[in-house]
Symmetry: C2
Subunit: 304 residues, 2 copies
């Protein structure tokens, strides 16, 4: 009797252990899944070009952040895109819409995006030469092109937040956590802008009541392009809202756009009632290429 | 006889399975360890201040990259450190040595580092006013202070690579993979420097034989601070090697330092025989604070 009991016990024990181990392993793996996710996403990226960023299985309920980045060819372009992608790579549920000011999608940007590890869409539209003058607003065509793409490729079924992310600004990861919950239009402070350490919306009882700014305080929305985000549904429900060329005045791009889709009293203040700077309007110096050789070139071609 | 064989088989089978599963699990875990590591490191960071970056269990054989970053108080400082930490956070086995040009460790940098998610050591040393002139080499004291710290807190038992990472440059993640294998002194191209698109060591048969540069080609090592890394053992075995004030000429800091520890023919070329630009000598514009209010301040204090 006793020997039967022991033999059964020793036959069952290891099987029970196996089951326990398998359950344990599965639990632990799922906890590292999210952290590993962005590395895994790097592998499959080259194929992801122009495909929806929404995962096949709806593995998370987070709205996708669509960051619209106008860019143009210049010495520091790849450097700027490199450090930008180093930041964006860490933002979950992120889709980067890069719009080149160019008549074609350049090889440099195409190659860069294919390897950068951030889900993306690569667009291009050339700014007519007559608009490339000092005092003219910049990147109007590129931002509008990205808005058109969203209207064509996304529907009200998709949850998302749209943000205009210029390629030389500095973004903290916290900024994206803040903007993720944008219901209509969210606002927050921007550092190093308008000749001041920062500009910010002034908030009272959870409502925006004015602007702390050192420049053109008469603007209806005295805010930088990096200072707001818009829910994707607002972009889709206002199909004609866009950045204006006609009648646009310097520094009025943001106001001209925002007044088509919202009112000051409806703005949602983020970043602890607009008291934290989570994005900086940094500007990169133009590069001096005065010593670039005119005739005697290097023996190999090197992309910079 | 047959029944004895079967009973033994069925008793042994599950134990064999358990062993196989355990081996399998351990292999898979170690492969995600590196990717998960930097997220895990964020959690324990506030306590990690000035503690060795080497893990308690020697969980990986990768040498630690010690990045030495001199920094000083200015409008864009927090922005620069923010985007730098966004890059460094993704480098496994990384230890950031931040040295402030200041008589104290400032609150801004202390708070920033405690929250940045990168293992770090926070030092400070004030540059005497007489050295703060145009044409004088910069950050000499800060870099030397970091070298002293390494000599006091690391020994020949520790595997590491030392790199001088200024706070406004742009770094690709690939750069750190390249420098990780530095045996003595490794070199590679740097973008946007010396008045050219890039400077680089010229390589023949795996040896550095000259320099592609547009500026002072007579320098023994015509290379930017961002263009080389040194094995920790070389730093420790040359305890007197440091950056010089006395007799230092503009642009000669790198050469003065490198000739104390290596020869041109011993340099190890990285980045595909020095044909890929993986780091850029970007410069951030000084911020215009012309509209900063002199009397009428904001109602709250906001750190920028």
């Amino acid at each position: 009797m006793k020997s039967v009991f022991y033999s059964r016990f020793f036959i069952l024990l290891p099987w029970v252990l196996i089951v326990i181990i398998m359950i344990d392993v599965d639990t632990k793996r799922s906890s590292v899944r999210n952290t590993a996710q962005f590395y895994l996403s790097r592998l499959g990226n080259a194929q992801r070009h122009e495909r929806p960023a929404l995962p096949v299985k709806n593995r998370t309920a987070l709205p996708v952040i669509y960051a619209i980045t106008p860019t143009y060819s210049r010495a520091v372009q790849k450097a700027e895109l490199t450090r930008l992608s180093n930041t964006f790579r860490q933002v979950p549920q992120f889709h980067w819409i890069v719009v080149e000011d160019s008549s074609t999608r350049t090889e440099l940007v195409s190659r860069f995006l294919a390897r950068c590890g951030v889900p993306y869409t690569h667009l291009n539209i050339f700014t007519p030469r007559r608009f490339k003058r000092t005092g003219m607003p910049r990147a109007t065509e590129q931002r509008n092109n990205a808005l058109s793409w969203l209207r064509q490729h996304r529907s009200l079924k998709d949850a998302g937040v749209v943000f205009f992310a210029d390629d030389d600004n500095t973004y903290s990861l916290e900024l994206f956590e803040e903007m993720r919950s944008t219901r209509r239009v969210a606002v927050w402070p921007v550092g190093l802008v308008g000749g001041r350490r920062y500009e910010r919306p002034l908030v009272e009882k959870g409502k925006v009541v004015g602007w702390y700014t050192g420049w053109r305080a008469d603007r209806p929305f005295a805010i930088d392009m990096a200072g707001f985000a818009v829910n994707l549904h607002v972009i889709l429900s206002n199909p004609r809202a866009q950045f204006k060329r006609r009648g646009a005045k310097p520094g009025m791009q943001e106001s001209d756009f925002l007044k088509q889709i919202t009112k000051v009293e409806d703005l949602e203040p983020k970043a602890n009632n607009c008291t934290k700077v989570l994005v900086w309007h940094t500007r990169t110096e133009k590069v001096n290429l005065g010593n670039e050789p005119k005739h005697h070139q290097d023996t190999v071609h090197i992309e910079v």
